[in-house]
């Protein structure tokens, strides 16, 4: 019998459950290794070589090299683990979270100062809020890509 997963219809959200955790085990454990200063140095010196020491899938390695956190999460990454990559790169949590929206750093920061993202239209997949698939990427990046389409 399938487990109950009532969180699959929340837009723009991947819940890190046991299944995602299994999928992302080595990706997340690689991230964990970056808690040590000497490992951060080794990773920065030779990213590909460092990643090849871990039993990660090729896709997970590509997602890390691209610093595409949404991609990392789809392959089983969890944000608290992925944050160690950001720390290694000298990025704040706000820069990391913002990078997943497509917004520029300034756009994301201004959204937060303005009270954050509204929940309206963003509760269920299929509504019309700014976190829905049809509105990605957000910010000027989104405006540029929708202009191209016109």
């Amino acid at each position: 019998m399938a487990l109950e997963k009532p969180y699959l219809d929340v837009p723009g959200t991947i819940i890190f459950d046991a299944e995602q955790s299994r999928k992302g085990y080595w990706l997340n454990q690689f991230c964990m290794s970056l808690m040590k200063a000497e490992n951060r140095e080794a990773f920065k010196a030779d990213e590909r070589g460092y990643l090849d020491q871990w039993a990660m899938t090729e896709e997970q390695k590509q997602a890390v090299l691209a610093r595409d956190l949404n991609w990392c999460m789809r392959t089983g990454g969890n944000i608290y683990f992925l944050a160690k990559i950001g720390a290694t790169d000298g990025k704040s949590f706000q820069q990391m979270a913002g990078s997943m929206t497509g917004m520029t750093e300034a756009e994301y920061r201004d959204m937060m100062i303005g009270g954050g993202r509204s929940v309206e239209g963003n509760r269920y997949v299929g509504e019309d809020g700014d976190a829905q698939a049809q509105h990605q990427p957000q910010g000027v990046a989104g405006k540029a890509s929708s202009n191209k389409g016109n």
Binding site: Y7, P11, T13, Q94, G116
Partner: protein
């Protein structure tokens, strides 16, 4: 006997720790956040506890994916602030209370909660940011936190996290455990994390001021109903990381108006309540309740 006299609730945003550590607390962005804790710092001095029982979550720091305890109690003599990737926070080491912690572990396990006992663990911003907010800035070498702290880590990283109801029941068991400890100790219980925030995906940056404040009203006045809030409501309304709020229900369940799972005693007094958006990605909520 030992007794719980008060509960404290607060967000534990890592950027708040960074703002303190980098001397940014007087910047216009941060000033309103720290203003909200001015009362609390004085209250801490006026109501100094002998021990703080601090409920928080580890953020992939002490616990990797090798082991994921749902409830873990720190019974060590001391706990070192962790290097989370940016270097350790420059704050004093955390002194534990091994005797009371072991007593609580034994009592709570006998009340049917399967705690993991942790004798060695570093503590991350989830624990040290609330201490900084309540105790102010301290020198890592010359100063000390005002009292021993028992770290109590809850898994809210890998789903499913414990339900609000179970957290609320656990709080009641912790109070029983404290009250069966012979030494006269004034214990505070703190619930930390939240309020609304989401750190991932296209929905990152979600804040829900109305929901947060309605939830807080309910937690104060009708905690039994609040404890029944299903996980999915936190995720949908308060963001995927808003689910940290279940930890506040452990502290609320330990207050003395809760008898046999129901509100039967006099309501605790709300000494202070504060809410501010944003701190980095997060809505900051803070509350102090005192038993009468």
């Amino acid at each position: 006997m030992a007794r719980i006299t008060a509960s404290v609730y607060t967000s534990h945003v890592p950027a708040i720790g960074a703002a303190l550590d980098l001397g940014k607390s007087h910047e216009p962005y941060w000033q309103p956040v720290f203003q909200g804790y001015e009362y609390s710092k004085q209250w801490m001095k006026d109501n100094k506890p002998d021990v703080v029982f601090l409920v928080y979550n580890d953020h992939a720091t002490a616990f990797s994916l090798e082991m994921i305890p749902t409830f873990a109690i720190g019974t060590a003599a001391e706990f070192t602030p962790a290097d989370e990737g940016w270097g350790p926070r420059p704050v004093p080491k955390v002194i534990g209370h091994p005797d009371l912690a072991s007593h609580i572990a034994q009592s709570v396990i006998q009340q049917d909660f399967d705690l993991t006992i942790v004798n060695k663990m570093d503590v991350d911003h989830g624990l040290t940011v609330p201490l900084s907010l309540m105790c102010g800035e301290l020198d890592p070498k010359k100063d000390a936190w005002p009292c021993p702290v028992i770290p109590f880590a809850v898994n809210v990283v890998q789903y499913p996290v414990p339900s609000g109801r179970r957290c609320f029941m656990l709080g009641q068991a912790i109070r029983k455990a404290v009250e069966s400890y012979d030494e006269d100790l004034n214990v505070h219980i703190w619930g930390t994390g939240g309020m609304s925030h989401q750190l991932q995906g296209a929905r990152a940056g979600l804040i829900n001021r109305e929901w947060d404040n309605a939830w807080l009203d309910k937690m104060i006045a009708d905690p039994v109903a609040c404890a029944d809030t299903p996980h999915i409501d936190y995720v949908r309304e308060a963001g995927s990381e808003g689910i940290e709020l279940v930890m506040w229900l452990i502290a609320r369940g330990a207050m003395s108006d809760i008898v046999d799972g129901k509100v039967q005693g006099p309501a605790p007094v709300v000494k202070h309540r504060f809410y501010h958006v944003p701190a980095s990605n997060t809505a900051v909520g803070h509350l102090i309740l005192e038993n009468v």
